[in-house]
Amino acid sequence: MAAALTNQLHALVNNMFATGLLDDQFQQLQMLQDSSAPDFVSEVVTLFCDDGERIIGELARQLDKPNVDFDRVDSFAHQLKGSSASVGAQQVKNTCIQFREFCQQRSRDGCLKTLDLVRTEFYDLRNKFQVMLQVLPNVLKIHLTLSIEFH
């Protein structure tokens, strides 16, 4: 049973890599995990999820104002970019880059559209993370190690 599940999980994570949701940085995190910090990946991912949500909230708040302060929006987008880079959330990171461009252009519409996009991507990623970590933590650890080997 576990084996089949592992394969499925393996497929899930592989899929995340293949579709560009995750990049090499996530593997770096996996490699950092060791016996002295057995929940490292889980903890880092949790931090990212919480922080990311906070930043997205800020972005929405900023863009909701009648007079948008694009520098502030840009600063938050930058934060999200940095945060997503930390866990290898490549797709979110790239969207943040787009976001910043719209900020440079002072385009509220562009920013709002990109905000929607980044929000969707972020929540999608977060859900996948949550499943991985919550449902299958033990198997995940093994699996993740395997994925390093196979990549």
Partner: protein, 583 residues
């Protein structure tokens, strides 16, 4: 020197507002066998560094931070502490990197940072040491150079990194060898040729600074004005650094007090806000115990300076200036007399603490003197009972001398978050609160939970503004107080292997670094709030997982059958794969 073991124990301070990065970097650095302290706010990082700069070898900081620009932090550190600083950013534009270099960064790393880059940061520390040697060679003192050369050769790797600057070494000579900091104590002192900054010399220095104008001051100008033969620009430069540091500390303390953090009492003088501390000091008996030398001839000039200073402060209470003659007294002057406590306000005060009511006056006094001295390093504090110097020494002396207008080095308008105040009452193993035993522990219990405590910290009081949060006994717990940013900025040394540190599970601790160095026998320890383990599975929305039907159906089963799947993944060796997984 064993090349591979060389940078072991390098003491790194990491500053980054992103909690995810902070955690990752900390893990990476620890994997390099470095000692890591993390910090989520630049302002707090500066406080930490000011408090114990000698305890760090290198600083790594992000460029974009909410409370202070990373480049500004870089400047401050270079000016005040002269530590090597590495900048980091996800943004690798040439202009940014250039800015980093211009502001004095010794390196600029791009995120995501890789292990191999972090492994190599020790070279910046070493390089700086070498430059210091060269600088010494420019001085006259052959003896010092000889010591230095011998020192270098005789050093083991740990000693090398203990050496931050000459002042540190000077203090170290006097430091109680039992100090848990485990500094190099085998006589391999390294010191630069030092000028003795006598009261007169310092007075000339200050006069020169005032004449030039504090904003425009520079070592060369001061040197020229002072016109002392034999004095070098380097001497003046380093002295100027310390002076600035001291002044900023003083002003900060003063502001803290003014902002009403004072739980202290001016009881013997009345607690009017307009209490003129200056005059109160003059009336006090001269047996306030601290290391300040006699400087009564400066009282008059001080008074003038204080008046001009008044406009700069936010209230009518002048800066407290210990302007009186002092002698070292180890027994208790009435602690009430130490109205220096008033300057402590919210800084370090044990007196208002609910814990440990029986603290001896002498202990109290010492602690207050410690904080009173502003940036007086803990080392100097430690010297206290043996301390017998008559000349101006480091920051302690400047307190007796006039201060010019000072631009607070932290961004002006940065109104005032009191720094994290962690007062700890430590009990030694045997419970004695004898003064000499407690002293080293108390010293370390200043602002951060130093890993070097030999005592078991059994209670922690956090003094924040007007409220005091006391932890429970038995465990070292931190209860954070909502809404008070200072506790969120707490930074902890991460190498504690002795303490039983357990922050309470408090989601509002943001930017507070985790005590990630908890001993490994605290499994499942929740950090940063949420522990995923406890979330019920039904809370998850699985509709996204069209391709993982197996998972959905699998939920019915017990996933934890295979408890015996032992797993360890060290960084460089992958675990053996249990063949059953792939059956």
């Amino acid at each position: 020197m064993d090349a591979t073991a060389f940078p072991y124990g390098l003491r790194v301070l990491v500053v980054d507002d992103d909690p995810t990065w902070l955690k990752i970097l900390e893990k990476m650095l620890r994997k390099c066998s470095y000692e890591v302290t993390t910090c989520g706010l630049a302002t707090v990082a500066l406080d930490i560094l000011r408090e114990k700069k000698s305890k760090f070898d290198i600083v790594i900081s992000d460029v974009n931070m909410p409370d202070m620009d990373g480049f500004k932090l870089l400047e401050h550190i270079g000016l005040e502490m002269d530590l090597p600083v590495i900048m980091m950013s996800i943004d690798g534009e040439t202009s940014r990197v250039m800015k980093g270099v211009q502001h004095g960064a010794c390196d600029y790393l791009l995120k995501p940072v890789r292990m191999k880059e972090l492994r190599n940061i020790w070279q910046h520390v070493y390089r700086k040491k070498m430059h210091e040697v060269k600088e010494i060679e420019g001085h006259d003192s052959c003896d010092d150079l000889q010591i230095l050369r011998n020192g270098f050769e005789g050093l083991d790797e740990k000693s090398l990194f203990m050496i931050s600057d000459s002042d540190t070494m000077r203090k170290r000579k006097d430091v109680d060898r039992d100090h848990v900091d485990q500094e190099s104590s085998d006589g391999t002192t390294v010191k630069k040729a030092r000028v003795v900054w006598s009261v007169d010399l310092h007075q000339k220095f200050v006069n020169a600074v005032n004449q030039i104008g504090f904003d425009k001051v520079g070592p060369k100008k001061i040197l020229d004005l002072m016109n002392i033969p034999g004095l070098t620009r380097e001497n003046v430069a380093s002295h100027l650094q310390k002076y600035r540091l001291y002044l900023s500390r003083l002003q900060k303390q003063n502001e803290e007090r003014i902002l009403g953090t004072a739980g202290q009492d001016f009881s013997h003088k009345g607690t009017s806000e307009n209490l003129n501390l200056r005059s109160s000091f003059q009336e006090q008996p001269s047996n306030i115990a601290n290391g300040y030398p006699h400087a009564s001839q400066n009282i008059q000039t001080q008074s003038n300076m204080l008046d001009s200073q008044l406009e700069d402060t936010k209230s009518t209470v002048p800066l407290s200036v210990p302007d009186k003659k002092r002698s070292l007294v180890s027994d208790a002057a009435d602690s009430q007399n130490v109205t220096s406590a008033s300057t402590l306000g919210g800084v370090l005060s044990f007196r208002g603490m609910p814990v440990n009511q029986e603290r001896k006056p002498s202990e109290t006094m010492i602690l207050e003197c410690h904080a009173w001295s502003g940036g007086m390093p803990s080392k100097q504090f430690m010297q206290y009972p043996k301390h017998n110097h008559e000349r101006c020494d480091l920051l302690g002396d400047y307190s007796c001398l006039p201060k010019p207008d000072l631009e607070h080095p932290v961004a002006p308008g940065n109104l005032y978050a009191p720094p994290p105040l962690i007062s700890m009452s430590c009990s030694m193993e045997g419970d004695g609160r004898d003064f000499p035993d407690v002293k080293p522990a108390l010293v370390d219990c200043t602002k951060s939970l130093s890993p070097a405590l030999t005592c078991t910290v059994d209670s922690v009081s956090v003094r924040l503004s007007d409220s005091v949060v006391t932890s429970t006994d038995g465990d070292l717990k931190f209860s954070s107080v909502d809404g008070l940013s200072s506790i969120k900025d707490c930074c902890f040394d991460q190498t504690n292997s002795q303490g039983t540190l357990r922050p309470s599970q408090e989601p509002s601790i943001i930017g507070c670094t985790e005590l990630a160095s908890l001993p490994e026998d605290l499994p499942g320890y929740p950090l940063q709030g949420v522990s995923f383990e406890s979330i019920p599975l039904s809370a998850f929305d699985f509709s996204h997982y069209n391709d993982t039907t197996m998972i959905q159906s699998g939920l019915q089963n017990n996933w934890y059958d295979d408890d015996d799947l032992e797993f360890s993944s060290e960084m460089t060796d992958y675990p053996l794969i249990d063949g059953r997984l792939f059956a």
